[in-house]
Amino acid sequence: MIDARGLSKRYGDLAAVDDVSFSIGKGEIVGFLGPNGAGKTTTMRMITGFLPPTDGTAVVAGHDIFDDPIAARGAIGYLPETPPLYPEMTVTSYLDFVARIKGVARKQRRDSVDRAMERTDLTGVNRQVIGTLSKGFRQRVGLAQAIVHDPPVLILDEPTAGLDPLQIREIRALIAELTAPGAAQNTVILSTHIMAEVDAICRRVILINRGRKVVDAPLEELTADGTTLEEIFARHTSRDAADLEPDEPAEEAAS
């Protein structure tokens, strides 16, 4: 469903994302890990069409993001790091607007909005103005906005960042429910740096560090020998590991 082919994003000499490739099949739920600034958000933004890659491309649900950007974007439900909300709108009118711009037909729009609110437990606040909602509820509206058009692919960028422990548990349960086998949105990329989240939801892990993919394996395989995700994360992202990267000697020579 998602094919990243050599995705790269360079800003001048700095490579934010460097030749990242992966292929995610239907029904896979992938944890996208990495320290802050590793390039997780940039990679997701390239797949969702917000930023064009400097090099490489991605194919989403059979649509190339360069050749057929409108169809590719239509196949994705995307929750950015800060949920994209209009504070002055009510939950219902906001979701109706999102359904419209995502191309949901007029007749189905009402049903789509109702179902999205049901699935995210928002029905009780449907007439409330978004600006008056708590952070946890706003995050739910963000999730509802991502699923309102029943996209085959879901991309969630740190969906639990900034929430309190109770809200985290709720949102996590919600994501697990939304992406359960048999649900429409069962192909998911979820970025996070919380290991427990990956344990709870994902079945495969892609770890990136300094813009490069360093690990891509099923969760079971990684933890089969008893190592925890934390250890794997630390091993691949610590300064020591970074110092061993081949581009390091060149920098030493320069200094």
Partner: protein
């Protein structure tokens, strides 16, 4: 292009669920009322003096359209210069500060859907303001006999000036995430446009007549005056169309530029 209505509809709904739209419209009506009363009072005062001094030549020139409605329209176009930047300052800047820019640009929309939808929302609002302006000369038809054609062409002038200001204000909003900066940039651009004829007449007319001619052509005021005189010329209409088109193109490039960075 199918989604222009979705964008425009959301934009208008947001204006009308907040007090901004109502505030702007009330303020605008009050100002229009004040200007209108002053213009009527001045009109009567001058009329009386001319009769007193038996200035029949001047009296023959004196009519409702040029001496009252035209003055009133002129004042209202200046009021629009202050109000429209306030309406357009949030069009794009607020999308950036809300993070909703990311929603729009990752939805199956074209950039033109966004740019034209937002322009349409602003244009609809300005059309409402123009109707408010039109009510006042409408009153004069009950008590006098202004020319219908001139009254309408002047109103068309207000409408076109307003739409042009919306295109300019939208562009200013698209280059920043700060609404105050958007307001100031559009205000300065509009003020410059207003001052161009004066610059042309007093600054460069003697030394470089060709430059003066270009500056005069660029000013909205010159073309607006033609419409106030009742002259609906395609050259003047083309000016407004070109200005709107150019600023919409610039806005499109500016919105798209997020993707180049």
């Amino acid at each position: 292009m199918k989604q222009i209505g979705s964008i425009a509809g959301r934009e208008l709904r947001s204006m009308f669920v907040s007090p901004i739209a109502y505030g702007v419209m009330s303020l605008f009506s009050i100002l229009a009322g004040v200007f209108f009363i002053l213009d009527v009072a001045w009109f009567n005062e001058m009329l009386m003096r001319m009769q007193q001094y038996q200035a029949f030549d001047e009296l023959a020139q004196w009519n409702l359209n040029d001496s009252l409605i035209g003055e009133f329209y002129g004042s209202m176009s200046v009021v629009l210069m202050f109000l429209i930047p306030g309406i357009t300052m949030g069009l794009y800047a607020s999308e950036k500060s809300n993070g909703t820019e990311e929603l729009l640009l990752t939805s199956p929309l074209t950039i033109w859907d966004i740019v034209l939808g937002k322009f349409l929302a602003g244009a609809v609002f300005v059309t409402l303001l123009t109707l408010l302006v039109g009510m006042f000369p409408g009153l004069l038809f009950a008590y006098g006999d202004p020319e219908v054609g001139k009254t309408m062409s002047g109103l068309l002038g207000i409408l076109l000036v307003g739409w042009t200001y919306v295109a300019i204000g939208g562009f200013a909003s698209s280059i920043t995430r700060n609404q105050i900066i958007a307001f100031l940039v559009s205000f300065v651009v509009l003020l410059t446009l207003l001052l161009l004829p004066a610059v042309a007449d007093f600054g460069v007319a003697g030394s470089a007549p060709a430059v003066a001619e270009v500056l005069r052509y660029l000013s909205a005021a010159i073309h607006f005056e033609q419409l106030l005189k009742g002259l609906v010329d395609t050259a003047d209409l083309a000016y407004f169309a070109v200005m709107i088109g150019v600023f919409l193109l610039l806005t499109k490039a500016s919105v798209e530029s997020v993707r180049w960075r």
